[in-house]
Amino acid sequence: MSASAGRIAVSGSLTRRLALTVAAWVAIGLGITGWFVLRLAAEQIEAAADQRMVSLLDAVIAAAELDPVRGPILARPVSEPEFERPLSGYYWQMTGPDGTVNTSRSLWDQRLPPARPDRPPRNEDIIGPRQEPLRLIERHVELESRTGRPPRFQTVTVQVAVTRVPTDEEIERLTRGLVLAFLGLGAALVAAVALLVVWALSPLKRTQEEIAEVRAGLREHVDVTAPAELAPLVQEIEALIEQNRATLERARTHVGNLAHALKTPVAVLRNALEREDLAGARAQAATLERLIQHHLRRARAGALAGAAGSEASPMAAASTLAQALKRLFASRGLDVTARGPEGARIRADPQDLTEMLGNLMENACKWAKSRVEVRVRPSRPGMIAIEVEDDGPGLAEGQDAAALARGVRLDEAAPGSGLGLAIVVDLAALYGGTLQLERGQRLKGLLARLELPGRILPGG
């Protein structure tokens, strides 16, 4: 990692990101669910309590009588002992039509809120005589006066109040239990996700260790038995390693070739120097330079083997080159033109296309009398032809015949062969193209036809 750490930006931990997201969702989800469950349970509890109070109220009403002297009274005791125990939290109170009030013994000298016979009956929470929360329900009932003849029905307000403390305590207990249970559930969920992530990512970790081992030279390959999601990544890495190995192999071969190629001229150079043969030494130095050039270019071509995917415009390259070459050959006043569709694209690195075209166009400029023409056009399907033609002498007579007869491919062109086209052939082959030389039909000079994979952009 140390070698490339400078270029890798670490964008936070996947585990932490997942854990945080899951924690947030679990908190929201469990929170809402918990609140609903709690509400339902609390309503249930309160409904039960209310139900019990209504039974008590019914019992009180059933036992009530309207006494002409004492007002509303209980004709017989209600079967709830708490009404008898002072300040027990269970109270009843009845208010007669003339305002006489009778209460349960438990109320002692206290009173419930005064009756309001003209308003709808209450069902509400109040504060009781011991400052405890009470639930109060009341009902307006018509009671028959026992003495009246004919009997008269008169309105009596019956109130029952019961402490809320046990209900509230029950709800609180339930709340505490539920919150604890949900907290536990949430924590368990987050922990499970975190564990899952760690477990799911463990193949990555193993792959990383294996790559490190490949880098350290401890193993040759990355283990390709990876989960389906990781397999493509591992395959890519494996391919990259393979490509590196191949590149290294090529580099070794190049260096070997270079060293080998340099040995002979160096030996000759040394001999020439010992004999003080200056001309011989100069010739060997020139040979050395040519070899260096040749190998440098080959090395560059080899290094580019993986540079797929880029596209270059032959018209753009030809125009820039034409401008530069006109300047280079300013004294000869050459007319260098490029014609063809602007939308033509060659599937090659732009610098390599410039290199190929530059060599062909410079060669044409060297031999041209006054004109050099570059023509770009689609040739076969998927191929673009770039023709560079000059009005110079063309190929020499002997070469000419051989070249034209065979439509020569200069694959074997040696460095320093005088044509300077070896690099063009190398690069063209690298990109799946060809170079052909023939006699030009328009300008009657040399015509170099470079065919490379490419396309014409629509609308270009």
């Binding site: 330079e289 401008q323 530069a324 070459l325 300047r327 280079l328 004294s331 732009p350 610098q351 410039t354």
Partner: protein, 220 residues
């Protein structure tokens, strides 16, 4: 002819200065881009040899800033990398020629001579003034077909006047173009040199224009 050589390698710049001085050029050296930029903007050079990889300011930027300031002297680029991508960049930034390292000194001198000739509007390498023929490519001078031996300074003065034939050239201009910056300039020596050229090639070849300097009558 006065040259600016911009090259940061001490060995190569020393070799260049020696070889180009032997070839009759007055040579100023600049070892980095900023020094080169300054010299090129202020001194009247007949040509520049410019290395592309320079400390402080790269060669392409130096070249662009000269051209922006309308300095039109011919520039030949020297570089270790000779990809067309780089050549195009150099030429389209305003360079006139291009030489890849390693190069042969004779090639550089020939190209410099060609560039200087071209900048003076002379197409052919041979300049003819009656019986006197000056070959700027091989730097040889003949009178009636007989080779004449000239010292480096004599040849430099003759070539400069010949390339600017028809126009009087002041002693100041001659001094600026025949001597390097650090040379002890003495205009009296110009008269001595002009005298020696006239003795060797004929009195009428170089005219003295009173108060203006020297002039050669155009060929033909």
């Amino acid at each position: 002819m006065r040259l600016l050589v911009v090259e940061d390698s001490p060995d190569l710049s020393r070799q260049l200065r020696t070889a180009l001085t032997e070839a009759g050029f007055a040579v100023d050296l600049a070892l980095d881009g900023e020094e080169a930029l300054h010299l090129g903007l202020t001194e009247p050079y007949d040509a520049v040899v410019l290395d592309l990889g320079l400390p402080r300011l790269d060669g392409l930027s130096v070249l662009r800033r000269w051209r922006e300031a309308n300095r039109t002297m011919p520039v030949i680029l020297l570089t270790a990398r000779d990809s067309w991508h780089e050549k195009v960049q150099g030429l389209n930034a305003g360079a006139d020629d291009y030489l890849a390292k390693p190069f042969v000194m004779a090639e550089l001198i020939a190209r410099l001579n060609a560039l200087i000739r071209r900048a003076s509007g002379v197409a052919k390498p041979e300049l003819v003034f009656g019986p006197v023929r000056i070959d700027t490519a091989s730097r040889t001078v003949t009178r009636d077909g007989v080779p004449v031996r000239l010292t480096a300074m004599e040849y430099a003065m003759l070539a400069y006047l010949a390339l600017n034939a028809g126009r009087p050239v002041s002693k100041t201009e001659l001094t600026e173009h025949l001597y390097a910056q650090d040379f002890d300039r003495d205009s009296n020596t110009l008269e001595v040199i002009a005298g020696r050229i006239r003795r060797k090639l004929g009195e009428g070849l170089i005219e003295t224009v009173r108060g203006q300097g020297y002039r050669m009558v155009p060929p033909g």
